[in-house]
Amino acid sequence: MDLTARWFGDRAVLVDVQEPAQREQVAALLAGEFPDLQVRRGMVSVLVEVDAPEAHLLDRVNSALSEVAVSSVLRPGSATAHVVRATYDGEDLEEVSQLLQATTSAVVQAHLAQTWRVAMIGFAPGFAYLEPVGPVTMDWARVPRRDTPRSRVPAGSLALAAGMSAVYPASMPGGWHLVGTTREVMFDPARGDRPALLAPGDDVRFEVGDE
């Protein structure tokens, strides 16, 4: 596998990857190799960031990358697993089921059966982009972002867009389709060393329930 980093400004280098399994491998390798640096995931990239410009950053990352082995499939079960209880009462559920050409009940069952992985966190604190991992239970990629974003989406909204799931951690503008709600607090600055419930690389399953 031929992976090389490139400069992304003078304080960061970016590694473009082909697919999620490679992203997880590269992120894990770099986080292990450079515990003092900040390693952040994109959907198909990994960024290594330092506080101040460092001339040798690119060489350091590239020599670490030469150790990455080839792996093709991202499998569930390799990471911290979370269960998030949700109620499938979102106002876009009907529209989503039309996009997926299935009944709302089939969509809900498929969503519950799917294992999701935190690809990256961004947009807002604790906003986790969840991609399907393992067997895909429905063609989630058929659900795009909404044509017109809502000016306010309530905190705890379970949403779908662009082949991914997410839970809005706070009330904010948003363009994803809303399929449900959860009472889980996705982000709480006061929650000690774990302000974000989910971390990059974690697995998530949804269960029906409101506790």
């Binding site: 400069w7 400004g9 995931r41 506080d51 101040a52 990256m120 947009f123 604190p125 006061a190």
Partner: protein, 310 residues
Amino acid sequence: MTDVVEGVIAVIESVGLATVQDAGRRGMGHLGVPRAGAWHGRRYRAAVRVIDGDPQRTPAVELLQGHFRMRITRDVLVAVVGPAEVRIDRQRAAADTATCVRGGSVLEISHRGPGPVYAAITGWVEPAVLGSASTDTFSGIGGRLLASGDTLEGPPGAAPALSVGSFHRDSARDHGGLRVLGLGHAGWTTTLWRVTSTSRSGVRLRGGQVPSSGTWPSGPMVEGAVQCTPAGELIILGPDGGVTGGYPVVGVIATADVDRVSEVQIDTDILFIPVDIPTAMAAHRDGAEAEQRSIVRRESLSQEGSSLDS
């Protein structure tokens, strides 16, 4: 004075656009938490260092526009750094220096620009959220937008026996533009760009030669990243900008010039100056060395004085 409440250092009477900032939150980008913190790091650190504070954690008022006035309730040292007119009890006072302000006095700071003005005050303590007192104006985490009637507080204590007279000597040079590390999209740095809006989340520009930048899967962002929107607008991300984004990035402002992004003004034209990595590294090193020399301590002055006396 009968109206002094224990622990209160200052009562704010007029605010302009002012927030509490320090150096910001570090190492939380992977959880979606931006740095926030002082938009003009060099000015913030100067204000704090002049009063012998900690240039990571000592809070300062960041004034982006307007007129800020507060009544000081006990003897403190104050340092105001940045383009401002400073008055103590209506008398003109110097910026860029540690000044003793007596309890009962009124300190006024009029923002003149360009860019943020910082006021640091001895004894002032703010609660930290995720390790920082800074105000993230986008997500609302931490800090606060100051309002009339708010107070600045700190543990009761004696007046500081401190270095009145230490000052900040700004030696930063203007390079006539923002130095940028390109990401292979040629052309856009050859024309001027007009600033259409500016905030801590980002500075927006229009009117230059729009780069053809293709698609960009959502990925990590850094402060100073120059994004290009489908509408042909550029956005330079600021300290409260998102940590991920889906717009193509055409360049990243060199660290040496990141503070300068806070100084650009609406309706002015900006030139981007492409530089390579060695140039950006050297510019950062020169800037860091100049910053170390920029704080002049009263102790060092008085030592020179006493050696002359003996």
